[in-house]
Symmetry: C2
Subunit: 109 residues, 2 copies
């Protein structure tokens, strides 16, 4: 199943972190996302580059609207010419399948 066909589901504190096997499988579907560790918490991270500030603004706004629609909220960092997006699941302090779904949807924007 393609990640982009998934829908973020409300995640509770008992939801499972993705396994290493799942991570490997999902990462193949994603374009250039990295798994980084921030204070011991794994996060999906990607930098998107833009020629103009307005393009970067529009992109970050669209990601935020997607996030609100999915009820799953990433960290979005807007600077001149670039936008960084970080997806992870606060409640379980790591990566849930939701995060990979949202990363794949971010690439579709």
């Amino acid at each position: 199943m393609s990640l982009t066909k998934g829908k973020c589901e409300a995640c509770n504190i008992d939801a499972p972190l993705v396994s290493d096997a799942e991570k490997e499988k999902f990462m193949i579907e994603l374009d250039n996302w990295q798994i980084i560790s921030v204070e011991g918490i794994e996060q999906l991270h990607k930098v998107f580059m833009f020629d103009t500030y307005q393009d970067a603004m529009k992109f970050s706004q669209t990601v935020a609207v997607l996030a609100d629609h999915e009820d799953h909220h990433p960290k979005i960092v807007l600077e001149w010419g670039k936008v960084e997006v970080f997806w992870w699941t606060h409640k379980i302090k790591g990566l849930h399948k939701n995060d990979f779904i949202c990363a794949a949807k971010t690439d579709q924007i």
Copy 2:
């Protein structure tokens, strides 16, 4: 003169960093901004808290529109319930009067 009445001016590489005396004067006019050092570069930083993601989205979007209008572009970090804003002047690797003007205008939003 109130900072909010100032207008950001295009900043070139020879523009002066603010002096310690100016910093002190300008900081009195600002509400709860901090001067932080990021990799040796001074930046003005403030965290704005919100009850909803939509309010945080709207605020970050409005700051971005202000930035584009002033042609001076901060780092804006949007997360659930909060927005962090960082103003500094890339070309001079530190704080210019512009940054204090833009911080004051951010507070007016």
